[in-house]
C-alpha cells in the first residue's frame, strides 16, 4: 500500500441538515488505523425541571471553521499518530435526541483517538463561536458553556 495516499486529513463542516454518524465515521476510517473514536452530542429534553422543546444553533461560521482547524492542528501536535479528524456541527433547529455535533478521530491504537476526541469536544466548547438557544414551552434561554471564560458563572 502507498502510505502517501492516506495523508492525514481534517473534515470540518457546519450544516443545517441532519448529521449522520455513519457518514462522519467513514470519513476517518483508514487501513493504517485500528481505532476510530466517536463523540456524539445529542439534544436533551430537560433543563432544571423545564421541558426543552428543541435547540437552535447559530454560528460565526467563518471564524468557527478557523477555530476548529486550530483544534485539529493542536490535536496533531499532542497526538502525532492521529490520522484523520472529522468535526461536524449542526446549525438551526435540532430536535430532541438528534445529534448537534459529531467528532470522529482515527489512530493506529485506541488511546490516542480516545484522548483526542475528548480534547476536541472540550476545546470546541471553550473556543468555537457557536451559540445554542434552548426553547422551552413558554420561554427560551441562550446557553453559556461553563468552559467559556467570558461567561458569568453566577447570575
Amino acid at each position: 500500500m502507498d502510505e502517501n495516499e492516506d495523508t492525514p486529513k481534517d473534515f470540518i463542516k457546519l450544516k443545517s441538515e441532519k448529521l449522520s454518524v455513519d457518514e462522519v465515521s467513514e470519513l476517518v476510517v483508514s487501513p493504517y488505523c485500528g481505532a476510530v473514536s466517536v463523540f456524539i452530542g445529542t439534544t436533551r429534553n430537560n433543563f432544571e425541571g423545564k421541558k426543552v422543546i428543541h435547540l437552535e444553533y447559530e454560528a460565526y461560521t467563518s471564524m468557527a471553521e478557523t477555530e476548529i482547524k486550530k483544534i485539529c492542528r493542536d490535536v496533531r501536535q499532542k497526538w502525532p499518530s492521529v490520522k484523520h479528524i472529522a468535526v461536524y456541527h449542526r446549525l438551526g433547529v435540532v430536535s430532541i435526541t438528534e445529534a448537534s455535533v459529531i467528532i470522529a478521530v482515527s489512530s493506529p491504537h485506541r488511546a490516542e483517538s480516545l484522548e483526542a476526541v475528548t480534547y476536541c469536544i472540550n476545546t470546541l466548547k471553550a473556543s468555537v463561536p457557536i451559540w445554542k438557544k434552548e426553547i422551552y414551552e413558554d420561554e427560551y434561554s441562550w446557553k453559556e458553556n461553563k468552559e467559556c471564560f467570558w461567561a458569568n458563572s453566577e447570575k
Binding site: 447559530e58 455535533v101 445554542k132 438557544k133 441562550w142 446557553k143 453559556e144 467570558w150 461567561a151 458569568n152
Partner: protein
C-alpha cells in the same frame, strides 16, 4: 420568532472625525457583526460603522453602545472578535483597517 432588519448605519462621519484631523482620529469603515443575544438586543445582525482607526477595545464597545444602548446590559459578558481573533474589552489598542470585521461575541455554547 424575532426577525432582524438589515440597516446600513449612516451616521455622518463629521460628527466623530473632525475634518483636517489626521492620524489616530482618521475614521475607518468597519463591519460589525452581532450574534445570539447581542443580535436580539441590537435588533440586527450586521452593519457598517465609522470608528477611529486607533481605538481601544473598550472605546470601540462604547461607540457601539452609543448606537445600540440596549447592548449595555451584556457588557460584562462579551468579548470581541477582530478579524477573527478574540479581544477582551479593555485597554488593548486596536489598529483597525478599512473593511475590518468586528464581531460581538456573547458567551458561547457550541457542542
Amino acid at each position: 420568532r424575532l426577525s432582524f432588519g438589515r440597516r446600513r448605519h449612516r451616521e455622518p462621519a463629521a460628527e466623530r472625525c473632525p475634518p483636517g484631523d489626521g492620524g489616530s482620529m482618521r475614521c475607518q469603515q468597519v463591519s460589525v457583526l452581532y450574534f445570539a443575544r447581542s443580535a436580539e438586543l441590537a435588533g440586527l445582525r450586521c452593519e457598517t460603522l465609522s470608528v477611529p482607526r486607533q481605538i481601544t477595545s473598550l472605546q470601540l464597545w462604547e461607540e457601539i453602545v452609543k448606537v445600540h444602548p440596549r447592548l449595555a446590559v451584556i457588557r460584562d459578558q462579551v468579548v470581541f472578535a477582530v478579524q477573527q481573533e478574540y479581544v477582551l474589552l479593555g485597554d488593548q489598542l486596536l489598529n483597525l483597517q478599512p473593511g475590518d470585521e468586528v464581531a460581538i461575541i456573547p458567551p458561547i455554547s457550541g457542542g
